[in-house]
């Protein structure tokens, strides 16, 4: 059971600890700086924070002492474009892709058998690997050079990007990544070759003849059940999907109230049938329906959902939860989520009831439990 949550926000990184009586903010780091993502590596305890300094670019900091001190380390860097190479225009967008780091959008530790290996997903679409705990990074060329990579489209931001990286706990050479917009990509050889998964996903926003094209799918968040890695869940731009065959094919979950739109999803680490979503009023409004913050939970693989609201604001609440703004601990009992309006909630009973930890934090980009 995790007693610590890290909260990455527009104005700093906050550590939230479970004391005997309550959850409390115990430390503020990088105050004033834009911390867009963080990761706790359970293999060695290292912490990683991605900062976007705006003027000065994207930086990565690492702590090896549980957040007491931090050091700037290397950031992923795109290689020079080959001589004479002219990138294609980004689909649906009057712009060519720029080979320069725009955002670190996903972090994942490698497998238990890969000490020091870390994956980083980025905008404008590069997947990077470090084999030395972030001291240096290398662009995964097989995915970057895949002939269909240039079909990846933009999202709410201007660039395509990789935000979700799921390393199979049974076989760390098997990795699934979620791309917005570009579907789900699968490697079984540690990134030497990639295949496009995602059969069955539907892009409501695309012309009819392209709606089931796997590469046109705007995956908002992809998660994998640790105990049954064949089961993965996706919150998608226009729906919710579930795979029971390792991301190869997907079933759409329809007619979920109040909405099938949202950004994050969490799956129970031991029960592949149980997952949580944070719904929002779709797409063009992106706030809770009727000003009520709720969490949707299924315990039967998406056949039915309970709408959980105890402890959550039920009037005039306009909190949006980003894709990394929801996390679950290793027991599956504790979840935490944070919103664009700086609210943070934690449950210790699988979502039946929620505690408000703060409603005054900066806009929250990512919430991550410390893992053992």
């Amino acid at each position: 059971m995790s007693d610590r949550v890290y909260v990455a926000t527009r104005k700093g990184l906050f550590t939230v600890d479970r004391t005997p009586s309550k959850w409390t903010i115990s430390r503020a780091t990088f105050v004033g700086d834009n911390v867009t993502l963080m990761m706790h590596d359970p293999r060695n305890g290292n912490l990683f924070a991605a900062l976007n300094h705006g003027h000065f670019g994207i930086k990565v900091h690492r702590s090896t002492d549980h957040g007491e001190t931090w050091q700037e380390i290397a950031a992923p860097q795109y290689p020079p474009m080959p001589e004479g190479y002219v990138p294609k225009p980004i689909p649906f967008f009057n712009k060519t892709l720029d080979w320069a780091l725009k955002l670190i959008w996903g972090f994942a530790p490698g497998g238990a058998d890969q000490p020091g290996l870390i994956w980083a997903g980025t905008m404008p679409g590069g997947l990077f690997k470090s084999e030395n705990n972030g001291d240096s990074w290398e662009l995964n060329r097989p995915l970057w050079d895949h002939p269909r990579r240039e079909e990846w489209g933009p999202n709410g931001a201007e660039w395509p990007g990789i935000h979700s990286i799921c390393v199979d706990p049974r076989d760390s050479r098997h990795v699934n990544v979620g791309v917005s917009t570009g579907g789900v990509w699968i490697t079984h050889d540690a990134g030497e070759s990639w295949n496009l998964g995602g059969k069955g996903m539907r892009a409501e926003y695309a012309p009819e003849e392209h709606q089931f094209d796997p590469i046109g799918q705007d995956v908002h968040c992809l998660v994998q059940c640790a105990a049954n890695p064949e089961v993965l869940w996706v919150q998608h731009h226009n729906g919710m999907f579930r795979s029971t065959d390792g991301a190869a094919s997907w079933t759409e979950i329809k007619d979920v109230k109040p909405s099938v739109f949202g950004f994050p999803v969490a799956v129970h680490p031991k029960d592949p049938e149980t997952a949580w979503f944070v719904p929002a009023f779709k797409d063009e409004k992106r706030c809770p329906l009727d000003g009520r913050v709720v969490v949707n939970r299924t315990r039967d693989g998406g056949k039915t959902f309970e709408t959980l609201r105890r402890g959550l604001p039920q009037e005039h609440a306009y909190d949006l939860v980003y894709r990394h703004g929801l996390d679950i601990d290793e027991t599956g009992d504790r979840l935490a989520f944070g919103s664009t309006t700086g609210s943070l909630w934690i449950t210790e009973d699988g979502g039946d009831s929620w505690q408000s930890i703060s409603s005054n934090l900066p806009p929250i980009y990512a919430v991550r439990f410390a893992r053992s």
Binding site: H55, A75, A100
Partner: protein, 91 residues
């Protein structure tokens, strides 16, 4: 020797003291500076060697022209100011 000065705002991330370096182009002078302060390079230039989108460089009070190749001429007594643009500072 051209003089290079950096915005105060960069100093809390990476120390960038005012220094003098030889060179006849902006690229040559900045490269000479960053060879001795490699960490600062990524705060001013992106990985393709271009001036970052929200950074600006003045040479003797004139806005730098070639943001990609940095071919702007530099005189021996030039003063180069590296500052952040007003853009890019999202709240």
């Amino acid at each position: 020797m051209a003089t290079i000065r950096f915005t105060r705002n960069i100093q809390r991330h990476v120390e960038c003291p005012t220094r003098e370096f030889p060179g006849t182009t902006l690229r040559a002078v900045l490269d000479a500076y960053f060879r001795e302060n490699e960490k600062a390079r990524g705060y001013v230039l992106d990985e393709q060697g271009r001036i970052r989108p929200h950074m600006v460089v003045f040479i003797d009070g004139e806005l730098n022209d070639d943001r990609e190749r940095l071919t702007d001429p530099v005189k021996p007594d030039s003063v180069i100011d590296v500052i952040q643009a007003l853009s890019g500072g999202k709240v």
